[in-house]
């Protein structure tokens, strides 16, 4: 926070499309962090990172506060001798996987997760996965994806994981709705109930909760993205003939309604029935949001890039809670998937893609927002300068989608402000 004062930031250069693109130091997680929630979602899968001690250290720093009897992720740490020759590294990997599967015979799906070191030395994990798959099938299915920092940012790790799953899904000609993106179990169940009430007969989730229960896919599949960070997964599903249903993301009452509506239209649900099914929960969501509106309306919020959830969340906070948007930073902007979201943002909202963290922090200090959404590396240092923060990672780890969670989502942003007002210490 030292260095340049508030005057140092001139108006940032904005592109012709109104979006500020910056390059520089990025204060973000790599895609490996996706493992922290994916290992809970797919309960019989194991995530084996092939990387360095840094990768192992990242994972345990993020997850190690939980005390595990049997963790469902680990790292094959590349050592000096592996760097000498690649053939050797493949043998080593086979040995490590064999030891792992002997220890954990209950594992049904093993992801070999690529890292920066494994990408830079060009260790071919996709071939390794094929080789190991032949050896361990049908008990354990071996897949691979990259969670490296040089290629993926935070939630893009989930995108890479699901995109690796898609080509492996069985073919299905069934007319079905697929909900894509790992959701907390309670939220997934709520959506399934709503779709059932709307009369959509077959609804499947990607990922499923078990490795053996992954859904089929085909040209009669219509898919809704539950998360905004699924660019590659969307492309992979398109290749399998599935059709994307464009919508707002299901945050808040309006977002959830629009999201459900996209499915209802695609499956020929009548407007009357849609209204009948969604009116009561929509009303509940509005009521829950009203409780937080007093606290949040008129407050100015600044999003630093983290998860790609920033644009939809900013739309929700501005549209349904009346917050002012100072800057909405995102690590990556998929204009296709966010087309509805971008249209629903207040006109003139400053969106930034990418990051030069020192300059962005200068802008934070110059604008002194009421609330700054940022990573944990920045949160406490910003708090120390008197700025209230909301740590962004929690938004990935909490049930925030859908009608019943709309109030909880607002509360996540109201809580730091409430706490600031409450404390006398």
């Amino acid at each position: 926070m030292s260095g340049a004062g508030p005057n140092a930031c001139a108006a940032p250069p904005v592109g012709a499309d109104g979006i500020l693109r910056e390059r520089g130091q990025r204060e973000v997680f790599c895609g490996l962090t996706g493992i922290i929630w994916l290992h809970r979602k797919i309960q019989d899968a194991f995530f084996l990172v092939v990387g360095s001690r840094t990768c192992a250290h990242l994972l345990q720093s993020a997850a190690g506060v939980m005390v595990f009897a049997e963790p469902r992720f680990g790292t094959a740490i590349i050592e000096e001798k592996d760097l000498a020759g690649l053939a050797d590294a493949n043998e080593e990997l086979d040995r490590v996987v064999t030891r792992l599967l002997a220890r954990r015979p209950d594992i049904r799906m093993l992801f070999l997760v690529g890292s920066c070191p494994s990408e830079v030395i060009k260790l071919d994990l996709s071939r390794a996965a094929q080789r190991l798959n032949q050896r361990f099938a049908p008990n354990c299915h071996v897949l691979n994806y990259s969670g490296s920092g040089i290629e993926t940012t935070f939630t893009q790790g989930e995108d890479a994981c699901l995109a690796a799953l898609v080509p492996e899904l069985p073919f299905s000609d069934a007319r079905q709705l697929m909900v894509v993106g790992s959701l907390p179990d309670v939220v997934e169940d709520q959506f399934l109930r709503l779709f059932a009430d709307l009369g959509i007969e077959k609804v499947v989730s990607l990922p499923a909760r078990r490795a053996g229960a992954m859904p089929g896919v085909g040209p009669n599949t219509r898919y809704l993205l539950a998360q905004p960070f699924l660019a590659e997964t969307g492309t992979a599903l398109d290749k399998r003939g599935a059709v994307h249903l464009s919508a707002l993301f299901p945050f808040g009452a309006e977002g959830t309604t629009a999201w459900l509506h996209a499915a209802a239209q695609a499956f020929g649900v009548s407007e009357d029935r849609f209204e009948m099914v969604t009116a009561p929960p929509r009303e509940r969501a509005r009521k829950a949001l009203a409780a937080h509106r007093d606290k949040l309306a008129g407050k100015r919020i600044f999003f630093l890039p983290d998860s790609q959830l920033e644009v939809p969340l900013a739309r929700f906070l501005a549209g349904e809670l009346g917050m002012g948007l100072v800057e909405v930073g995102t690590p990556y902007l998929h204009k296709g998937h966010l087309i509805d979201e971008l249209a629903a943002l207040p006109p003139g909202t400053l969106i930034s893609e990418g990051q030069d963290v020192e300059k962005q922090l200068d802008r934070v200090q110059a604008s002194r927002p009421d609330l700054t959404v940022c990573g944990l590396g920045l949160a406490n240092p910003l708090e120390k300068t008197g700025l209230s923060t909301k740590w962004a990672i929690e938004l990935v780890f909490s049930p925030i989608h859908g009608y019943e969670q709309a109030g909880d989502l607002a509360e996540l942003f109201a809580r730091p402000l409430n706490r600031r007002d409450l404390l006398r210490v």
Partner: protein, 527 residues
């Protein structure tokens, strides 16, 4: 490749970050891919610091690799200098940057920055965090300490001056380093000794310049400061106090070594804390011979073994460390306690060793808490790596006499308390207090244990299983009645009893283990 479930140490550049973040006025430019900034969280969250670590990362991405990543590094170094104006800079590479070989050291030297730049060579694929911290501190001391500086004359105009020492080794993210330094500084004060520089923690590069002005050095954490201390010894002829003052006896020895090196009189009476009396009081009698397994960094493990055996009356049944650089110290100590030294950084090997030793208490790191949970053993943390709960708000040194008080409370807490232990042994079928439920003073359905069974018959699973088992001998030659008898032994010694019985049966050619075999083995090993 090494299959790693948990790693005891981070990569060496995290060691360098611990030195840089501990210090003030020093900046670290780290050539690293996007994502390696996770390390900031270690300091802002685990240690709860209120400022960003003084580290600038180049955070290159895949698209940069085809281009000039060296230029990216130079830009980052230039901007970091301009923005932070540090007194000195360290530059280096993380594991991925090491592979692309941009040579940050060479690049920074050619940039002509207006402050000392100390290049770090930290081999990420063969060395680890502690080595990285030690090497970084050594390079900083070597690069910055002014070789002309010497202590002021022993007698000045105002009369004889007090001896002065450097306290070396404490860093950011060190296990209880914050409070250890307070405790040891206070102890030195009581002995009439001043502190010249504490480093790296709290020191600036300018402070390192005047290291030579101390009469001697105190090497508080050899993992980090031993290398620097031996260089200072060679360069300034400063002696090094090497006793690590963890535990009452070690602290006494530390006091005597400090007094000797400093040339001051041993004080008649120093407040030695409450630990000695607590341990001698009859409430602690049941602690005698408790089997304890100890694992951590070598310094803390060796110190803990001494406290456990001399000051608490435990029996050390396993001793090991994860840092090979200090294997010799562990071997020497293990020999003293008659156990095999365990020198490994493989979590799974440690788990096997603990399982085999069947201890009643595990003293270890955050990683041993995972093992202890799986094996359902009481556990206390004595060494890094640790998580956020071991950076407490309260004063919690490990060193000195107050440190010994803290150790007593911390280590005894997870054990079943005396009365409960007796009653568990006498009455095996209580629906509320049982092996499965764990110690009641830790609160019930505690995280370390299985859910409390609703019915009395489920409360002693070992017995229940044995009594409904078929009449044929169980694996290992156990008969049903012998297994049932085994189930009546309290859980914290049951593993040991099982292994002893099986060993006895094997050695004496007993094919079927009966109730009698169990008691014969008990008598046999009682000798």
């Amino acid at each position: 490749m090494q299959l790693t479930v948990w790693t005891y140490e981070g990569p060496p550049h995290v060691g360098a970050m611990r030195v840089a973040t501990g210090m003030k006025g020093l900046h670290y430019v780290l050539h690293a891919p996007q994502g390696d900034t996770y390390a900031d969280l270690l300091f802002t969250m685990i240690e709860r610091r209120d400022h960003r670590p003084p580290v600038t990362y180049t955070t290159f991405q895949a698209r940069d690799l085809g281009k000039d990543t060296a230029e990216l590094f130079k830009t980052a170094a230039r901007e970091a200098y301009d923005r932070f104006q540090p007194q000195a800079m360290i530059v280096g590479a993380s594991c991925t940057a090491e592979l692309i070989q941009d040579d940050p050291a060479g690049l920074a030297e050619t940039m002509g920055l207006a402050c000392p730049v100390i290049p770090l060579e930290l081999p990420s694929y063969s060395r680890k965090e502690n080595w990285g911290a030690s090497e970084t501190f050594y390079q900083l001391v070597r690069g910055l300490a002014d070789k002309e500086r010497r202590p002021p004359p022993a007698v000045g105009e105002a009369g004889p001056r007090r001896p002065r020492a450097n306290i070396l080794g404490p860093t950011a993210l060190g296990f209880r380093h914050r409070d250890d330094v307070v405790e040891i500084s206070r102890l030195l004060g009581q002995l009439g000794i001043d502190v010249n520089v504490v480093a790296p923690m709290g020191a600036t590069p300018a402070d390192l310049v005047r290291l030579g002005e101390a009469d001697f050095n105190i090497c508080l954490y050899p993992e980090i400061a031993a290398q620097a201390c031996s260089w200072l010894e060679r360069t300034f002829r400063q002696k090094t106090v090497k006793t690590v003052p963890i535990g009452v006896n070690a602290t006494r020895e530390f006091v005597s070594e400090v007094c000797q090196v400093a040339g001051v009189m041993m004080p008649g009476a120093v407040d030695q804390g409450r630990m000695g009396w607590w341990s001698r009081s009859v409430d602690s009698t049941y602690l005698t011979g408790k089997r304890v397994f100890i694992f951590g960094d070598a310094t803390h493990a060796v110190a803990a073994a001494r406290v456990a055996s001399e000051e608490l009356g435990f029996k050390v049944v396993g001793l090991g460390c994860y840092n090979r650089e200090f294997a010799r110290e562990i071997r020497a100590a293990a020999e003293k306690y008659g156990v095999d030294p365990l020198i490994t950084d493989d979590y799974l090997v440690v788990e096997e060793a603990i399982e085999a030793a069947a201890p009643e208490l595990v003293l270890g790191t955050q990683m041993e808490r995972h093992i202890a949970k799986r094996l359902r053993l009481p556990c206390a943390v004595i060494s890094a790596p640790v998580h956020v709960q071991d950076f407490p708000a309260r004063y919690s040194p490990q060193m000195g006499f107050e440190g010994a008080n803290v150790l007593f409370d911390t280590w005894v807490h997870p054990l079943v308390m005396g009365l409960e232990e007796h009653l568990l042994t006498m009455f095996r079928e209580d629906f509320e207090f049982s092996d499965a439920a764990g110690p009641s003073h830790l609160g019930h359905a505690s995280a370390a244990h299985a859910p409390v069974p609703a019915m009395a018959e489920a409360a002693a699973p070992a017995v229940a299983v044995a009594e409904t088992a078929p009449a044929t001998p169980q694996p290992g030659g156990w008969t049903d009645e012998a297994l049932a008898e085994l189930g009546k032994i309290p859980f914290f010694v049951r593993g040991k009893a099982r292994r002893n019985t099986e060993r006895y049966a094997a050695e004496h050619g007993v094919a079927t283990i009966t109730r009698e075999t169990l008691y014969e083995a008990k008598a046999h090993y009682a000798r």
